[in-house]
């Protein structure tokens, strides 16, 4: 560009007007440098690129935590060689060990925020000419706040419904829990659960989980974060000594990755030894989310001294004050093909607390909202026997809309001012 940049930012190097230099300015000036902005943009481009490549091997949530929601990330060199193998025919035998440290999403985000605020404090004066820039930057900050709220407070879960069946709880398929259910009360089950994080620690340390609320103590022999189960062959060893698991074999599988088309959810399993309060061995049990599928639950009964309990490893449940009944599930295809055209759940929503009892339809791109939660058509159960709804509570859901409108307006104003100036000069 010419010696006089279109924007006054670069002139900020000259002292603004007269008077003694403000000591705060001495600190802010260097922080406000556009050079830093550009470097940060470049860093974020590299980060996003590797965060995309990493999804070839890792679950999208792991990638988000490691790359975008962290201060520092160790990017494995393997990703670079994988990229070169995919696109540049590098021999597949090539393998680069090790990893390089790189600033994570959080660090870059805060650096950009500091840089932006410093820029506004030192260079960017409030004026009509600058109104577009102000709107853009303000909108972007708003967007970041929205992303933060979503990250911290949004809860995503699913509700699985068999046609004709009802449910009043949602499941989070990113977390598991070991549940002991006391079915003795006819009206309501009494449930005690061990959260997944406790199971993980117990599996690591080998220490039994002992809690007075539990009917027995639990030793986690092994924990598989993703698994498959199948009927046990004649010659295969018995993993479990009791229950359904006696006739099953569990296979460990790699955790799902972000670009996997076939499997999107990890299906954990565990081998646990249960010991009664008085030290009696209650046997080794295979518990798995596979045994808890809504369509074909296979409960396992443990005879503890306290009474009979049902034990299961299941996705973390949250109980809701409302009940949803799936009245009909429709899976339409294009005529003469198997290509899905529409998935639709016709449901009845009952919420006695606030006196709601109404039918509703949830279909692709047409969610239902209730009590600050949004219900989306998510999946069909095998054989169209039922429907899976995605249930999302996100207190920050409005912010992206708002910030998008602000930034877009800002860009229109800013580029509009520039364009009209350019056109005036051309004529």
């Amino acid at each position: 560009m010419s010696e006089t940049p279109l924007h006054a930012e670069a002139q900020g190097h000259k002292p603004p007007g007269t008077g003694a230099p403000n000591p705060a300015m001495l600190v802010l000036k260097p922080l406000a440098s556009l050079r830093i902005t550009v470097i940060l943009f470049a860093l974020s481009i590299v980060l996003v690129f590797y965060g995309t490549l990493a999804q070839k091997e890792q679950d999208i949530w792991d990638v988000v935590n490691e790359y975008f929601w962290s201060w520092c990330v160790f990017i494995p060199n393997r990703l670079t060689t994988m990229f070169l193998q995919l696109f540049f025919d590098l021999p597949s035998s090539m393998n680069a060990p090790g990893s390089l440290p790189f600033p994570g999403g959080k660090l870059i985000f805060w650096a950009i925020t500091v840089n932006l605020l410093a820029a506004h404090a030192t260079r960017l004066r409030v004026s009509w000419e600058r109104s577009g820039v102000l709107l853009i930057h303000g909108g972007l900050v708003l967007m970041m706040v929205g992303e933060f709220l979503t990250r911290e407070f949004a809860v995503e879960s699913t509700m699985t419904l068999v046609t004709g069946g009802k449910a009043s709880f949602v499941e989070s398929n990113r977390h598991v829990e070991l549940a002991f259910i006391d079915p003795s009360d006819k009206e309501n089950d009494k449930v005690v659960v061990v959260p997944g994080t406790v199971l993980e620690r117990a599996a690591r340390t080998g220490q039994p989980i002992d809690d007075p609320r539990l009917p027995c103590s639990v030793t986690v022999l092994s924990l598989f974060s993703n698994s498959d189960i199948r009927d046990r062959g004649k010659d295969e060893p018995e993993y479990a000594s009791r229950g359904e698991g006696k006739e099953l074999t569990v296979l460990e599988r790699p955790r799902v990755n972000g670009v996997d088309q076939d499997q999107k959810v990890n299906m954990p399993a565990a081998l646990v030894r249960l010991t009664d309060r008085d030290g009696t061995d209650l046997g080794t049990w295979l518990v798995s989310t596979w045994l808890q599928l809504t369509r074909s639950p296979r409960p396992q009964k443990v005879a503890a001294k306290e009474g009979e309990r049902l034990v299961s490893l299941r996705f973390r449940r949250t109980y809701k004050p409302y009940t949803i009944t799936l009245e009909e599930f429709r899976h339409e295809v294009y005529p003469g093909t198997n290509k899905p055209r529409n998935f639709q759940s016709d449901i009845r929503l009952e919420d006695a607390e606030i006196g709601v009892d109404r039918p509703a339809t949830i279909r692709m791109n047409e969610p239902m909202r209730h009590r600050g939660e949004t219900f989306y058509q998510h999946q069909a159960l095998a054989g169209d026997s039922g429907s899976v709804l995605q249930v999302v509570r996100n207190p920050g859901w409005l912010l992206p809309y708002l910030s998008c409108a602000v930034v877009s307006l800002g860009m229109l104003v800013h580029f509009g001012i520039n364009l009209s100036r350019f056109l005036r000069r051309t004529t």
Binding site: M1, S2, E3, P5, L6, H7, A10, S33, L34, R35, T37, V38, F41, S44, I45, V48, F49, G51, T52, Q55, K56, I60, L86, F87, D89, G146, E147, T150, E156, G258, V259, Q261, V333, Y334, P335, G336, T337, K339, P340, R341, F343, M364, N365, P367, Y376, H378, Q390, W397, P400, C404, V407, S408, M411, L412, F415, N418, L419, F422, T426, T427
Partner: protein, 598 residues
Amino acid sequence: MSQVPGAKGLPGIPLAGWLVSGAVVGALSFMIVAMSYRSSSYDLEKFGQLPLQSGGRLKPFDTLARTSLQVITHRTEFTDPEGRSRPATEWLLDVMTSRLTDKGRAENLKIFRVENDQVLRLLGVERRQGLRYAINEFRDKMADIEKAAGEAAKVDPARRDVYQRQLLELTRHLELYIQIATLTLPETGLIPPETPPTGEETADDRWLTFQEAMVATREGRSNPATEAFGRVLLAYAQQKPADFNKHVDAYQEILQERVAAPAMAKVRMEQVYNAVNPIYLACVLYVCILLATLAGWMMGDKVIAVQRGVLAATIMVATIHTAALLMRMYLQGRPPVTNLYSSAVFIGWGCAWLGAMIEWLDKRGAGNAIAAVTGFLSLLIAQFLGASGDTLEMLQAVLDTNFWLATHVTCITLGYTASFVAGFLGIGYVLWGVCTPWMSAEGGKALVKKTYGVVCFATLLSFVGTVLGGIWADQSWGRFWGWDPKENGALLIVLWNALILHARWGGMVRDRGVAVLAILGNIITAWSWFGTNQLSVGLHAYGFDQTLARSLRITWIAHLALAGIGMLPASCWWSLRPKAVPVAPVSRSPKVAMAGRR
């Protein structure tokens, strides 16, 4: 805008320019379309307009013929044993009737394209020019092919070598051929159900496969449509053109009672669209425009007048391109972008009009060149992407929303468009400055200013498009941003454009820097457009993806090389070398003139 003298109507282009360009474009278009016309004693056009139901929609036999032939032989025409080019519908009829006759015409057509020597050896044929072989040439090797393909199929897709991939591709083509010959194409109904039309709803009824229709006839449930269609095929098999034409008419009358009129009109329109092939037409015309632009640059002081004329032609070709786009929208009943193929057509369309706009302001041919090069390249990519099948396919359930297709997809695709145009302007600047002595300080600066403007435009569109995508995601599964590969791809474009803008505002880059950064932007845009897809298909190495990966590689290396050239020191720039003559006095101030020389 400053006006060229004598301009009436649209500013800047003299009437003579419109007339001359109109005559040339019209004549060329006529020639190109007429050249693809093939006469026959059979009324192939009429047969080609008959509807069938395939992939969930009604389409003409013409489309089925072209897409199938394209898959098998990589062309939409074939060469008959006499060496003449013949239309796809003739091939389709030959194959469909191959079991009704013992002439063996279809079996002797050289249509199977085989490139690999090892596969050729397996087929027991000699390598020949054109690389196309008839099924009769390797009929006796079918068992061997089946056995070898069975073994190749067992190999993990990621580890298959060229031979195995091509062998499996050949078996897929053979399978398609046999499906046509035995009238057992999957997801394809040839015979309409026996219900009278009830408005638009008829399209939702499932058509009968030929087998189902035959079974119904055998069981005594006679369906006039089955018989009428059978007579059409029989007349063709017996080589009786007059009978064939008569029976086609009769079959069409039956169809008119069963298919709603608007649906029939659409099917007919699709055949006309296929026959005119406006995408191909525009693609060829863009090359002509590039040639005209280059010629215009040789004209010395007449350059502006000539480039104005070429601009008129650019506008006309872009209009043909627009018509193609509108026709596709009408046929599909959807906004312009619904799949990768249509994104290429749309990007080309945006590039062409953006180029025309730049030319309108610039007058020196840069805009014409951009329109021609980007229009041509994107349509070339489209031809390549369209080769894998039906480009007007139905959409998966989650995409079944015209609102988001119209807003998000259109916006993000326009963002790609603007980024590409900026990149090509950058390339133009670098080549102009390095390879020619003609880039004046003023001209170079003007070009970079345009690049800058287009980058602003690209930032706006890609940002809005990306955010709209987030809103769509929020609407359909409750997550505004999920960091998935495609979203990240879009984000990269926004970040890169923002980087260019900030680098310029901060004075870190000047003219050459903006040009080089814009060129590098093409690498990122190409990654977002195709690279991320490749990533999600992963290592599943089917033929098409291999080609895609190779094309991407070439694109990236070429752009890196161009960026490298752009970073050569000023002394290597032909146009920036100190000349004996002082800098032209047109610049506003000596300072600006010096800047242009940096």
